[in-house]
Symmetry: C2
Subunit: 164 residues, 2 copies
């Protein structure tokens, strides 16, 4: 049984759920690619959300990307993401939440991206997430490997469970 | 069905599994406490391990701490951890692996700890993990809230599934 939602994250309830769908990515240094994604946003009754994302190559089904972390409210209008990637990248994002009747919009930008000694060079990330009822659309910009901040990923996911 | 272990992490197979047990924590700024823990170390066929930890208060059963991230081999003797905590803390640890017939020893220390604007101040972490067959013992030191690096946590976990 799920614990009750902590009052400090009640305004973020629209994010909760298991989200599945597909997206595509591009970057000047790589071939464009298509992927399938599962994103689980959950909670344990405390004032934060957990965030677990996995993607698979749309053509081969092989695991492609993963990232995991937590989402922290700062009052009702600000929000923090802390996210790590298996490629050795850690990221702190800060930004804003605008909730509305059927969902909400979240825009965050990295205040810190750091990497392990062996990771590739990523210097900045911007994430825009638009939740509307049972649909989540997101875009991600990235500055990496010497390239300036620019569009990298776009996906559309649908709520895959009964949570709302 | 689990995918085959990537050759680059085959020497870390002793870490894989669902580990359950109990531990205790202390720090000059807080009351000592006891906790129950579940730690899941997994893989998806790629050259890294996933790491998901949750603890509950031993007395009340309420969620206490959580952290999640990834473990990356660097050759056979070095290792990197990237770990994120819902309290808004992200951590890069680097260190060594010494495998032996029945398990292995991992010692890592943070090369970077960073926090969101609203997180408490943590400036350093050391982790020592000792795997021996179906037992995992770990200790964690922490420098935080103006205190120097010192002992914080100790736990003993047992492998709770059939993986080995």
């Amino acid at each position: 049984m799920s614990p009750a939602l902590h009052p400090d994250i009640s305004h973020l309830a629209f994010m909760l759920g298991t989200w599945k769908g597909s997206g595509s990515g591009e970057y000047p240094t790589i071939d464009s690619f298509d992927y399938n994604e599962e994103l689980i946003i959950g909670h344990v009754g405390k004032p934060f959300l957990s965030y677990q994302q996995k993607t698979k190559d749309a053509a081969t089904g092989m695991p492609l990307h993963a990232e995991t972390g937590y989402i922290r409210p700062v009052g009702r209008e600000a929000i923090e993401f802390v996210i790590v990637q298996p490629s050795g990248i850690i990221e702190i994002d800060e930004g804003s939440v605008e909730g509305h009747d059927e969902g909400g919009r979240i825009v965050v930008e990295s205040t810190l991206v750091a990497t392990t000694a062996t990771a590739k060079d990523v210097s900045g990330v911007r994430r825009r997430l638009e939740f509307e009822a049972d649909e989540l659309r997101y875009e991600l910009d990235m500055a990496a490997v010497g390239q300036p901040m620019q569009f990298h990923l776009r996906a559309t996911l649908a709520r895959a469970d009964g949570e709302s």
